[in-house]
């Protein structure tokens, strides 16, 4: 049985299960619980050029079948990552996908250059951040801005380039094509949904940052639709992200057109879920006499 999956020239995962950015830190904590080599790949916390302190607390909040986070992209900075964390990740037999972001195009490009080093399997651009030079509009909200950004990053790296889309846009297909034409090798669909929570006793927002991003099973049906929509429009592979909790979810996202999946929030609740999900997927394929996951990807049967 072949459960490997190809995301870009030179980027083939041994299985379609990745951690998600921001729920796996830099892998050390999970490595104490299981062998990271069982994963198709790990995606690191989003890195920036300089270390970032993040938002005031509370930074998380529970919602119906989901959670909000407004961590504020706290991270140790790309240099500390390369010096202190990357070598450790290199000791595992898994692909290392480095998630990153910048405050302007040059910073994104600079980051990509810095990460164009051994030990990094691919880079994943988080474009759900405001472009401070363009009056604060998110890179991921305008196809032209996104296309330019991706094109510039493309020229700064030899690594497979994954663009992680923002879901809350009018035409997600347009954004996907803008990234593809900019030179993305693959797309992650998608980041969290801007949302908020309010405490009716204090009359205050629950999160220190007022708003945050919604993730978890609550958003899965939307994420599934986005993957389905994007994978039919884009020619490049799609990585699914949003509410995955089980091998059943994984099969559903593969059917919708994803070539791999990231598991985020659920691994906070159940850190050992990765192994369970991979085993479940193998068992499913065995029970259904499937030889390769390419027999599942995009094979949704529509009327």
């Amino acid at each position: 049985m072949d459960i490997s999956t190809r995301l870009a020239p030179g980027l083939c995962l041994k299985n379609p299960i990745l951690s998600a950015s921001g729920t796996f830190a830099y892998g050390e904590e999970f490595a104490r619980m299981f062998d990271l080599s069982l994963l198709g790949g790990v995606v690191t916390k989003g890195l920036s050029l300089h270390p970032k302190e993040g938002n005031p607390t509370p930074r998380v909040c529970e919602t119906s079948c989901g959670m909000l986070n407004a961590i504020g992209l706290e991270n140790i900075g790309v240099d500390a990552f390369i010096a202190q964390k990357l070598p450790f990740l290199g000791t595992f037999d898994t692909e290392v996908v480095v998630n990153f972001f910048g405050t302007g195009e040059d910073e994104y490009a600079h980051m990509a250059q810095k990460l164009d080093i051994e030990g990094v399997s691919a880079i994943e651009m988080n474009v759900s951040c405001p472009n401070i030079k363009k009056g604060g509009i998110e890179f991921g909200k305008d196809p032209k801005i996104l296309n330019r950004l991706v094109a510039q990053v493309r020229q700064s790296t030899t690594k497979p380039l994954i663009v992680k889309l923002s879901p809350m846009v009018t035409h997600i297909g347009e954004m996907a094509l803008a990234a593809q034409e900019g030179g993305a090798d693959a797309l992650t669909c998608s980041n969290t949904f801007p949302a908020m929570a309010i405490d009716e006793n204090t009359w205050k927002p629950i999160l220190g940052n007022i708003t945050g991003g919604l993730s978890g099973p609550a958003v899965k049906p939307i994420a599934l639709r986005i993957v389905w929509e994007v994978s039919r429009q884009a020619a490049i592979p799609v990585i699914a992200s949003g509410g995955i909790t089980s091998w059943r979810d994984v099969v559903q996202f593969l059917l919708a057109g994803a070539s791999a999946v990231e598991i985020g929030s659920f691994s906070l609740r159940d850190p050992l879920c990765f192994g369970v999900i991979i085993q479940g997927l193998i068992r499913y394929m065995h029970d259904n006499s499937l030889e390769s996951i390419t027999e599942i990807i995009g094979k949704l049967r529509t009327p």
Partner: protein, 252 residues
């Protein structure tokens, strides 16, 4: 740290809105101050685990003491003997032992009692101050009084038990009488911790505080539980929940 299934052995009200639960599960040895992340249901609603300190752990039986605050703790209070929970832990960094020459002072307020009581029971020496609004808010009062070697003082705002007033006032009074190196262990509302920290400075005592912050993972991967320290942001769940009070930047 492990993720294990725990069987509810007992779950009973021991004070106003406060329950003591005993669970059967195999944990590694714990340090007082460490905590568990409890998953409450099989479904994804509620989604996040809840952090609760370990009160005791011996031979496969763990005790937790919790105040019913919201949805999660209400669900917990509804668990009956024989039901299952999933437990992740023990997590975090607990209290350090008092040095041989140090006099230990334990201070607890609000939901801060469990880790403090765990420590006092483990050490078997020193003085414990428990502060509450009123008598009915103090759980396990008998048990506290029977910790061999530990002198216990209660303070209540309405004077219904022990001294009328705040725990920090009693701490202040106590520190005045101690004439050797002293270590203060505190857990409770932020205001109390802050005051304990400044008293420690005034009296030249060491002070360790256990901090509460909203958590998603409890094992260091999500960065939810940041606390500002002199060494920058630290994670309450892995660097803490116990911190040297002098390292905390208390903010306003």
């Amino acid at each position: 740290m492990k993720d294990c299934n725990a069987l509810v052995k007992d779950n009973r009200l021991v004070a106003q809105d406060t329950c003591l639960m005993t669970l059967a599960c195999e944990l590694s040895p714990f340090t007082p101050g460490q905590f568990l992340m409890l998953r409450l249901t099989g479904t994804c609603d509620p989604f996040l685990r809840r952090p609760l300190a370990v009160l005791s752990y011996r031979e496969g039986i763990v005790e937790i003491l919790y105040k019913v605050i919201g949805r999660g703790t209400s669900l917990l209070a509804g668990k009956k003997k024989g039901e299952e929970l999933s437990v992740l832990g023990p997590l975090g960094k607990g209290f350090s032992d008092p040095r041989p020459e140090e006099e230990a002072v334990y201070v607890a307020g609000g939901t801060g009692l469990p880790p403090i009581l765990a420590l006092a029971e483990r050490m078997g020496r020193g003085s414990l101050i428990i502060g509450a609004r009123t008598k009915d808010d103090i759980p396990l009062w008998e048990r506290m009084q029977n910790i061999g070697g530990v002198e216990v003082t209660a303070t209540t705002e309405d004077g219904s038990l022990g001294i009328r007033g705040m725990a920090t006032q009693a701490l202040n009074d106590l520190l005045k009488t101690v004439h050797k190196p002293c270590v203060i262990y505190a857990c409770g509302p932020t205001g109390m911790l802050k005051t304990a920290a400044s008293l420690a400075q005034v009296f030249g005592a060491r002070c360790e505080v256990s901090i509460e912050e909203r958590m998603a993972c409890g094992f260091g991967v999500c960065s939810a539980c940041a606390v500002r320290t002199t060494a920058g942001n630290q994670k309450v769940c892995t660097h803490g929940p116990v911190f040297d009070a002098s390292c905390i930047e208390w903010g306003i």
